[in-house]
Symmetry: C2
Subunit: 245 residues, 2 copies
DNA sequence: ATCATCCATTTTGCATTCATTTTTTGTCAT
DNA sequence: ATGACAAAAAATGAATGCAAAATGGATGAT
């Protein structure tokens, strides 16, 4: 007789679409991670077909695990599956991007709200540190450093929300956008940069006061503005380098 | 020479994990839909292993497409993959449920915000209609009807957000929760029911005024309260049937 | 009786094979 | 040359095969 009592093995495969952790016990899991990076990093042009056989050679595997990974990437929205015509890299329309940014904004807005309930003083201080670091990058017009620190701040807020489900979803959507960022590097307008700094001040302030609703609002607006800048950048490609305040 | 110019075929496979639309050109897509339903409807007990071979017989297919579907369901978070031990239905801890509810709350909060930007008067009126209908169910203590209408209201709000990406993500998370709901039927406390009605009044009011931030707040709080009720229900199983106001 | 060990059976993971469909190439008529 | 058509080649999607691992049960020691 077969028992339906759950066994207590440890799940190795990520519980949900997962770009963060670098674990992989099975071949298909390993391939999933590698292929996702491969696509996100833009090794296949937008809208181009995913060369199944070539990738098999590249990774040194058979088609079965690769195809399994493709199905997952399709579910994540990174690629599309065409009936009898394999997979192709999903080309995001401007509308798609707007939608993605809005969802990201919603998730971060949520993260801020939850963070207010759970964040420790120590964590707030750490974010303050990052904020000043970022301000330094801003003053030195170091865009790369600025972006990196900016991202760390947003990640810190998501981490402070104490919600793994949210974190995973956030990582998933971030991955989809990152792919676009690789091809078209988002340069911000000077004006927008100063604005963003001010918004970050407000974020920090609301976080200090644990003002959940307020933080939620500010974060959404902040991401919304980012969205506008990004979309504008896509339509009229180049923009001036940022200058000091 | 191979061209990298995108061909213009029509993608049939859902762009992301998709429980809503009933399309499927490929076998694995068909199986994905059927298997997802099969799991969500609770045909396999919590934490039990997913019998690969049996399901193949049930669906009349070979293992390959089934295994592909399993990988996707794992990515969606409905099942877990154990290395060399197949798949098992993911058992959600109380913490997992709390997280899921919070993410749902965040998504609906976002939906409300976006809806305020895009919703038409006609749509608002339609939601008002649903609201009165729901009130009728409330007065008649028709819990089933109440739930159904309630769900339609929330879906209407999500639809009014005009964001397919959001809608898809919402459906995905809703599916994960629905599985739990099948096993433990969420009965609400009488007091909570009256409260929920009041909250819905406020939701409708904010929606009429297109008060984005306010609606966002109310929706989050509304879902938060739902969460509390649901979790309480899980720990102390049964509760009284709702009475008239 | 309880527990550990070994072996048969089953299951899993991946590679390989096979039937279709699509894509490319080649031919011919205009 | 250009286009239509047909055949060859390649690809996709699914089924099958095979080695490795896990499971279950029998055996034997304590």
């Amino acid at each position: 007789m077969k028992s339906t009592i759950p066994d207590n093995g440890v799940p190795i495969t990520p519980p949900t679409a997962n770009g963060g952790d670098r674990e992989a016990a099975s071949l298909h899991g390993e391939i999933l991670l590698r292929l996702r990076d491969y696509v996100v990093e833009g090794n296949i042009p937008d809208g181009a077909r995913v060369p199944e056989r070539q990738l098999c050679e590249l990774f040194g595997i058979s088609r079965t695990p690769l195809r399994e990974a493709l199905k997952v990437l399709a579910a994540e929205g990174l690629i599309e599956l065409l009936p009898n015509r394999g997979a192709r890299v999903r080309q995001l329309s401007q509308r798609d991007l707007e939608e993605l940014f809005d969802v990201m904004a919603g998730l971060e807005s949520l993260a801020g709200r939850l963070a207010c309930e759970a964040i420790t003083d120590k964590e707030v201080i750490a974010i303050e540190q990052l904020h000043y670091e970022m301000y330094g990058h801003y003053l030195h017009r170091d865009m790369h450093g600025y972006f990196q620190t900016n991202q760390r701040i947003h990640e810190s807020i998501v981490a402070a929300a104490r919600n793994e489900t949210l974190k995973t979803a956030y990582a998933n959507f971030a991955g989809r956008i990152r792919r676009v960022r690789y091809s078209a590097n988002f340069a911000r307008k000077r004006q927008r940069w100063a604005e963003a700094m001010r918004e970050h001040e407000a974020i920090l302030d609301a976080l200090r006061r644990r003002a959940a609703s307020e933080l939620s609002d500010i974060l959404f607006q902040h991401l919304r503005n980012k969205r506008t800048a990004a979309i504008e950048h896509l339509t009229e490609p180049q923009e001036d380098a940022p200058a000091a305040p």
